[in-house]
Symmetry: C2
Subunit: 351 residues, 2 copies
């Protein structure tokens, strides 16, 4: 499968570089758009969906260099391939689990992807490592313009862009930032942060998006409503809130260091000890331990493992990535054993 | 302190050699004897105790080569020194915590020790690595004869040797065998073994003797009563019972291997991972993990650590040994940190 080429590269969102990358893993903006003249996806006939796909594909052929993108129809992908794209956050669970004609356009450098026939006819997203909303905002605007030059969007003078779910009507934008907040979890302040964020209509989700539990102290923060607010306003809100959370997290880490550095160091090292020695390990446990190791690296307590390696593992320890690496289907037990084996191998390699 | 010389050697009972040494750590026989013409220790005046000490010391000077033994009076020892001898099982907690004139004669190779003014005027013990009662029975008989050649014991034609506690009257013998029984603990069969042993008047105690909790799956099995039975009978009973327990333990280990070898291997390796990486560790946790590692070695799952090293650690990770190694008093927190440091150092060294 051609997408397997991505296996040896990191998702852009996991490169571990960019502004504030100690705490901010990645930034992501998505826009929801719909074709004019077609019912929304959940009301579309299969023929409608086929037509939308056809129109989209023509646009791709005209506007994108085939050397720089992958155009993939979901029905031609194996379940493992779908899971693999989900783990790289290039498609959503909804697109994966959907029915009928669906597709995704993926930038080979993973700077953007466009899902076709997800909840809306088009869901485009751009992403980058670290905290950098302006870069991805510019990028998604250009992407939107390119698509709009060939496809007529459903747009209402009064409401703005029309979307299947009212919460997206208007700008159809969702801005989300993935953060690593072990300090706030450890000092039990995360609940307080949750509450303040929900008061200003920001949602906190787990690493794998909507409905997923937060794993290993990684959280996604994003806007909830778009109607009645401009893109600029929504971006500014996130732009202002994130530095405050970063500040809280840094203070919490400082408290941990002050209170009990030895204990913290002990737990960071024990995490590496277990990761280096386990013969079977679940995804959840490995995420928790890697979260601990990542904290240790950022606090200067662990110096022999790089953030890049930790981020790389966060990606590759997921089930479909492991199956691609193993080049075979893995039963749950085999998966846990292979994960442990891969961990030991990778942690032994020098960066 | 001259006894510090023992620091670099292992207690005889921890050499990890001898018959059945996979499961039997050590064998030990002690005899309780009292001087004729003196009240028992708990009724003795300080003058009586002094006289007993004096008589004993004279016997030592006459009968033992000073190059081969240490004669130590408890009142001249620091609390750390006492604790250190306790950890090596050369003295008992009762002797350490007692009052007034008390002493201990220690063979420099730790083949025997004789406590003076513990519960009885004399408590002599011989010990060896592995399961070998006949060797230590011969040894303690000779030791007993040497002492009796100079000291008149309290003896009654009808009851035999008189002792402070009725449970020791007669032969005054206690035979005890220290076993490593992780298989029986893991398969939850230890309770059943406890019950069967207590029915035949055998006691199960923790590694540090009477009243101590069993730590890290190490247990001491010994006879409870001596009255009305000959030494030979008591020794035969233990001689017959231990192989049965060894057999149960081996079966339990076999069950563990059959049932879930991968899981077992995982836990053994994780134990080494934690021992190799912790920055602070309690005695209890380190004993538990070393117990796991010892099982792994015996089952051929761990090949890069020797039983000798594990046994060495079982001894040296104890508080007073650590203080001797650190050459200073250690607060609890410092002790846990130093223990972790010592562990990491020792596990890195090749055997």
């Amino acid at each position: 499968m051609k997408i397997d080429n991505m296996l040896n590269q990191q998702g852009i969102w996991l490169r571990g570089i960019g502004p504030e990358s100690e705490i901010v893993i990645s930034s992501r903006i998505r826009l929801a758009r719909n074709f004019a003249g077609y019912p929304f996806v959940h009301k579309s006939s299969e023929q409608d969906k086929q037509n939308i796909l056809k129109t989209f594909r023509k646009m791709v052929e005209k506007k994108f260099d085939p050397e720089t993108v992958y155009y993939l129809e979901l029905q031609s992908l194996s379940p493992t391939d779908c899971q693999y794209l989900l783990e790289r956050q290039l498609i959503s669970k909804e697109l994966m689990d959907g029915k009928g004609a669906r597709a995704v356009l993926i930038d080979r450098n993973e700077n953007f992807s466009v899902m076709v026939n997800e909840e809306d006819h088009l869901r485009m997203q751009t992403m980058t490592s670290g905290f950098d909303l302006s870069t991805i905002w510019d990028r998604i605007n250009k992407l939107d313009d390119v698509i709009e030059s060939e496809i007529q969007y459903a747009y209402d003078e009064r409401y703005g862009y029309l979307t299947a779910c009212p919460s997206n009507v208007g700008t159809g934008i969702r801005v989300s930032v993935m953060l690593h907040l072990p300090g706030l979890v450890e000092t039990r302040e995360m609940d307080r942060v949750f509450r303040s964020l929900s008061k200003i209509n920001l949602a906190v989700r787990g690493i794998y998006g909507e409905g997923s539990p937060s794993m290993g102290e990684f959280f996604q923060i994003s806007n909830q409503v778009t109607l009645g607010r401009t893109e600029k306003e929504l971006i500014s809100q996130i732009q202002e809130v994130i530095p405050q959370i970063i500040d809280y997290e840094q203070k919490a880490r400082h408290v941990l260091l002050e209170k009990d550095q030895k204990n913290l160091l002990d737990r960071c090292y024990r995490a590496t000890g277990i990761l280096n020695s386990a013969r079977t390990i679940t995804l959840d446990e490995s995420m928790e331990l890697l979260s601990r190791v990542r904290l240790g690296i950022n606090m200067g307590l662990i110096t022999d493992i790089s953030i890049t390696k930790v981020n790389d593992l966060l990606l590759h320890l997921q089930p479909a990535h492991l199956q691609k690496l193993a080049q075979k289907e893995l039963e749950e037990e085999e998966e846990d054993a292979f994960r442990a084996e891969y961990l030991r191998k990778k942690l032994k390699e020098s960066d």
